[in-house]
Symmetry: C2
Subunit: 386 residues, 2 copies
């Protein structure tokens, strides 16, 4: 309620907002999009957006003599696009667009161009919606209470049925909010289930940073005395998260939600760092998950060399053999042609090939992007529990 | 993952964020606070924040010769403060502060000065946390599926106990997200319950705008053909929301959550427009809620005059008499001395006095602010279900 917005109509009552008088973004019937920023005082306004490709990727808005900056881009193909303005060197949100998402510590506006490619993650009013629960649970492995998001399918509240469970892991920089916020998991699952393409299932989205209790925008860092040493980067790489998913998360879900149990009712997938977590968890726990997805990740060249590297490789070989014998149903690897982790995904495939380990490889265009991870989710989920 | 942030360290890998190198806000031990914005190109950066009082309420940052703008304010008393920068006439978030909240369509950064006054809504890692559920439900009255937030107290998942239910309504401009996001309901209830001050209870936070299916930043407007005519402002004033709370929301909660039933296990309160909803709902349904809270609202002078006004007053008189006889346990009115609705709260008190209707009046300092509503919640919740 603070002070009225600068653009509030003259005489507007404090605490009540005037409707925005500037339309931005304006999506035209031909899928061109116009952005507007009003300022008499600013000299230069640029926009950075996900439709831009190649180096630089910045476009400048043009100022007219009333002080309105604008630019029209496109036509854009149907997709979700995030963007930000930069006003005289400072990043700014579009004050006229209520759609904002958080990518780690970075806030961005976004909009969706409707069409076949974006249809699956569009929120539809005429489709039954699942519930998203932000639930806290005890972690014996990490040492403090932690938060995760749980999607339960439409109808869960009204029935007594049990459902299979899909554990869906985020990448570095993200947290338990990433898959719903950036990945639009709830919309994708709602739509896939409504169309009969995916089975109704519970989707569990954890926080992969073992030094965090919950999303960094809502939950203050845990003091060192209460848990682990804070590790600002690479906190997902300590092995603690993986152990805790198996020992803390899965038992909590199977006790407190109406979950089906046993490997054929458990799936796991992750993107980037979460794809690393997925490999560690499934390598270390053969027979726990029958459906395994590694999105935009593979086997990274390790830091160890010589004897250590040989030992790690030997251990991995033994684990892959054990996983092979466990009777999993699907091992799905997806990567973009232009992804900077492409080589690691190739190393994973070569390693599995060496063991005649059956997997499905899906190569997409593009790189290390949420556009790809939404596509991978929408392709992976329909293959589960069938 | 777009492009790296402008302040990313040179050579940072795209898609991975460098730690912010600018500290803003920086809270000093004496509760002075420094804000920083870096830009070689900007001419003028101002800040608007909730610590500012009086007209204007804008302070200008000073630029040094490296391009760093800064300002130090305070010392500030312990409280949550929202703020925004304006850079050459355009509103901008603080890119170095991950704490962002949404007030309707307006995004703001915030920070908390720790201390006794803010202690109750501070997230504490060593306190058990309740679950917040974003649940969809059918609305026969409004005609389309709608979303609400439900807080269940810590331990709800592990036990079989039933809990009393508190329905908590937001004001104009807000939606089902307002009480958790702006009002910090989850933190307040966690802390009150942990301290033994409030009984463990379920808190239900609905969307009071009958033209919305869900929060405006996540759920697109419902097309007219699917439901009611969209009413951009005053959509909470049609009477539909109140009817739907009684006929749709309460039965859904009592069927799908482990809720205790009967009037002594139901409380309702609302702020501003939600205080109006609360009056309508409890006037129209005597014997449904034993605990009633009207925050920063009262009886507004109506638009009707003459015979119509007389009729409305007569009907209200009859309803207040019926409510009086229903055996409610608490009717709590709270208002700030400087609130622009102060007169309406006085009219409500005078009206109730005329009927010898028992109520408790709590007058605070300040106005129509979330700072007050957090205080009112923290005082009202401990009086419930005892």
């Amino acid at each position: 309620q603070v002070t009225p917005r600068p653009e509030a109509a003259p005489g507007a009552r404090p605490g009540f907002r005037a409707p925005a008088r500037i339309i931005s973004p304006e999506i035209m019937p031909d899928n061109k999009v116009t952005f507007r920023v009003y300022s008499k005082d600013a000299s230069k306004v640029t926009i950075t957006g996900e439709w831009q490709t190649g180096p630089g990727g910045v476009e400048e808005l043009v100022k007219n003599d009333t002080g309105m900056f604008s630019i029209t881009v496109g036509p854009l193909k149907p997709e979700l696009y995030a963007y930000n303005f930069t006003v005289d060197g400072v990043k700014a949100l579009d004050a006229n667009n209520v759609q904002v998402r958080r990518d780690g510590t970075n806030y961005q506006n976004f909009f969706i161009i409707p069409g076949p490619e974006s249809d699956l993650y569009f929120h539809k009013n005429n489709v039954p919606h699942g519930t998203v629960t932000k639930v806290w649970y005890k972690s014996s492995v990490i040492g403090f209470d932690r938060r995760m998001y749980v999607y339960t399918p439409a109808g869960y509240e009204g029935d007594t049925q049990r459902y299979p469970v899909f554990y869906l892991l985020h990448g570095a920089g993200g947290d338990e909010d990433a898959w719903t916020n950036m990945g639009r998991t709830a919309q994708i699952m709602d739509n896939l289930i409504a169309q009969g393409k995916a089975k109704p299932m519970i989707v569990v989205m954890t926080n992969g940073n073992a030094n965090q209790a919950g999303a960094q925008n809502e939950v203050p860092p845990v003091p060192v005395t209460q848990g682990q040493q804070g590790i600002p980067s690479g906190s997902g790489m300590t092995g603690k998260f993986e152990e805790h998913l198996v020992k803390d998360v899965v038992p909590f879900i199977e006790k407190n939600f109406r979950a089906l149990t046993g490997k054929d009712n458990r799936a796991i997938a992750g993107l980037s760092m979460g794809g690393g977590h997925t490999q560690t968890i499934t390598n270390d726990n053969p027979g726990m998950f029958s459906y395994i997805g590694v999105f935009s990740m593979g086997i990274m060249a390790g830091r160890q060399q010589g004897a250590d590297a040989e030992k790690i490789e030997k251990e991995r070989d033994a684990k892959i053999e054990a996983l092979k014998k466990s009777g999993y149903k699907l091992y799905w690897i997806a990567c973009g042609k232009d992804d900077f982790v492409y080589q690691s995904a190739l190393t994973l495939r070569n390693t599995l090939d060496k063991h005649n380990f059956k997997y499905v490889y899906r190569e997409s265009t593009g790189g290390h992007t949420w556009a790809n991870w939404r596509i991978y989710l929408s392709e992976f989920a329909p293959m589960l529990f069938k």
